[in-house]
């Protein structure tokens, strides 16, 4: 169905979600909204890692740009909600383009470390200029749900609807981009810089473009995240968030967008699972330490045993039964360092 009528599938999925939102209790609705936000953030990171071979450990910084842009446009210009989201996308995309220009020259661990340093430096910037509201942050209030939706329509359901509408639109759009010429050239760049260059693909420009789009998506995720907590502050976009998104991307499988839900649901579910376990054994030590342990252990196990994510794994199994779909370009061990050494010459 997805292959033949992608648009219908997305609309159908949206309808299901709409039905679900009426059935869920409010805590789940809130968590559902968070899942949508994570899904966008993870998709943005997958686009970067899986489709252009770049990594960002400071993706939270790009989310922050989006969140702050949305909040500032709301506070100072009373922009309507949809416009704040557009502004979030544009602002983050600009930030991403600048970062991408620097990033295109870097690879693997260098890029990882640089984005990490950016994420660490971000709070100082928020503190440096009083317009950003410092550590305490700024409110981002999108207002109450429209009265036409009825009195029982809660704020979180409103967030849920907004987040999921945006998420579905973003994922649908991404799916189309991935199947376009750009998507193909990104994948080529990811597989092998040199081969792509030989095939006439402008590697640098492609990487910057991928970074820009990824940042734009991160921006809207940042604005939505700010919406669900109604605040932007450095603490809303901590290093932990960047790591969580990287975790979610790996759990989802970085080579395909198909798995984004797995990562985002897992991120929201893990603290719940840890809590359930802790309640069972009644230990505070478990409650405080187990979520971190679970996420990290899951991350390591995924990288070790399902490196390309569960969805890709499934495809691979299917492909083995039928005809093989392996790429002809053989990528030697540790692509990162290889491209690095070619860079150096």
């Amino acid at each position: 169905m997805l292959k033949k009528h992608p648009l219908l599938t997305f609309i159908f999925f949206g309808f299901i979600l709409f039905l679900i939102s009426n059935r869920l209790d409010e805590l789940r609705v809130y968590q559902g909204a968070t899942v949508a936000v994570y899904a966008i953030g993870i998709a943005s990171l997958i686009l970067l890692i899986g489709y252009s071979g770049q990594i960002s450990l400071g993706h939270g910084a790009l989310l922050a740009i989006g969140g702050y842009a949305a909040a500032l446009s709301r506070i100072h210009y009373e922009a309507p909600i949809w416009l704040t989201f557009v502004i979030a996308v544009l602002a983050a995309a600009i930030g991403g383009a600048l970062l991408g220009l620097a990033a295109a020259r870097l690879s693997g661990p260098y890029l990882a470390g640089t984005t990490l340093a950016l994420a660490i430096g971000l709070p100082s910037i928020a503190n440096q200029f009083s317009i950003f509201g410092g550590e305490q942050g700024l409110y981002f209030d999108i207002g109450l749900p429209p009265a036409s939706l009825g009195e029982d329509f809660t704020q979180y359901k409103w967030y849920f609807w907004i987040s999921w509408s945006v998420a579905l639109i973003v994922l649908y759009w991404l799916r189309n981009v991935m199947n376009s010429r750009y998507g193909r050239s990104w994948r080529a760049v990811r597989s092998n810089d040199v081969a792509a260059e030989l095939a006439g693909i402008h590697v640098g420009r492609n990487k910057v473009l991928a970074f820009t789009i990824s940042a734009g998506l991160a921006g809207i995720a940042g604005a939505l995240l700010a919406m669900t907590v109604s605040l932007v502050s450095p603490g809303v976009y901590p290093l932990v968030l960047s790591f969580s998104l990287a975790t979610g991307a790996v759990l989802s499988g970085v080579t395909t967008l198909g798995g984004v839900m797995i990562g985002s649901v897992t991120l929201v579910a893990i603290p719940e699972i840890a809590l359930a376990i802790a309640n069972r054994y009644g230990s505070e030590t478990i409650t405080t330490n187990l979520p971190g342990l679970l996420v990290s252990a899951l991350l390591i196990l995924t990288v070790l045993f399902v490196p390309n994510g569960p969805v890709e794994q499934l495809h691979a199994k299917r492909a083995k039964k039928g005809h093989s779909s392996h790429s002809l370009i053989e990528v030697t061990v540790r692509v990162g360092s290889k491209t690095l050494s070619t860079k150096k010459k």
Partner: protein
């Protein structure tokens, strides 16, 4: 003039801490082409082990080498069980470039949670074995104490020993060959995987020293999410990259540049800017000289 000397001493003692971390990162990078983002976590674990050893033996000078040995063993263990499996399973596709980064991040989380389970979320203290009060020159107390001088000498000693090992011994030759060209080293009959584990072990020992010395030279306290160690990771990385990520003297040089620049910024400009300046420094070096100061193409220096 006096102030300038102070700035210099402050920069140097900060640099000695950064360089310990940078050296471990360089060692790991050279042996497996991986930046180990769990390095600070491993150093923190070593600091906790050092804390246990100090409280049990009551003697810092026994605890330090013991903790270094344990740090080496743990690091080798990680290479053997985690990194090798990783190379086997995720050596292809998009994940290959990021798998080591993600895995080491995961390792960082596991280490922190484990520390939380064992030691709880409270501060633990290691007493400094030497005086932290600065030496006196005439009337003035300078910003260099027996403790920080020890750290500085330790770093210098470490760099000299590691350099000699790398340049003058057969093991060193094997380490360098495996780093520069693993396949050729393999074809020359070197057990590259074993050599990689050895590289991690040395890095683990130096990381353990970094963890313990950073703690006693600083506040003396450690906690699972110790901010000091997060910063140590990032600043150690910046120092290593400035130096070129390939070269041990480069790591030290990078640390000195970073330490000095930050000391100058803090004392003459504004303490508010240290993080931004560190980030800009990293970015500038990466854009103008991506191979770092000492990371020449041949990159011969050990």
């Amino acid at each position: 003039m006096n102030k300038l000397l102070e700035v210099f001493l402050i920069g140097i003692s900060a640099a000695s801490i950064y360089s310990l971390m940078a050296i471990s990162m360089v060692l790991v990078w050279r042996s497996t082409r991986v930046v180990n983002f769990a390095q600070a976590g491993m150093a923190l674990l070593s600091a906790y082990i050092g804390y246990e050893l100090v409280s049990r033996t009551g003697n810092f000078w026994i605890a330090l080498p013991l903790a270094m040995i344990l740090g080496a063993a743990f690091s080798a263990f990680i290479e053997f069980f985690l990194m090798r499996t990783l190379l086997k399973h995720s050596s292809q596709g998009a994940i290959a470039a990021i798998a080591p980064i993600i895995a080491t991040l995961g390792l960082l989380g596991v280490i922190r949670a484990t520390i939380g389970f064992i030691w709880g979320h409270y501060d633990r203290q290691i007493e400094a074995p030497l005086s932290k009060v600065g030496f006196k020159i005439g009337e003035n107390t300078i910003a260099m104490s027996p403790m920080s001088l020890f750290v500085l000498l330790f770093v210098i000693g470490l760099v000299i020993i590691v350099t000699i090992v790398f340049q003058k011994t057969n093991i060193g030759l094997a380490l360098r060959a495996s780093a520069y060209a693993p396949e050729i080293a393999q074809l020359a009959g070197i057990r590259v995987s074993g050599i990689r584990t050895l590289g991690w072990a040395i890095a683990g020992a130096s990381g353990a020293a970094a963890g313990i010395l950073q703690t006693v030279n600083g506040t003396g306290a450690i906690s699972p999410e110790s901010l000091e160690f997060s910063l140590l990771l990032v600043f150690g990385f910046i120092a290593a990259v400035i130096g070129g990520l390939e070269s041990l003297p480069g790591a030290v040089l990078g640390a000195i540049i970073l330490g000095m620049v930050l000391a100058v910024v803090q004392i003459y400009i504004s303490g508010t800017l240290v993080f931004i300046v560190a980030f800009l420094l990293l970015l500038t070096v990466l854009i103008l000289r991506p191979q770092g100061f000492l990371g020449t193409k041949a990159g011969r220096r050990a």
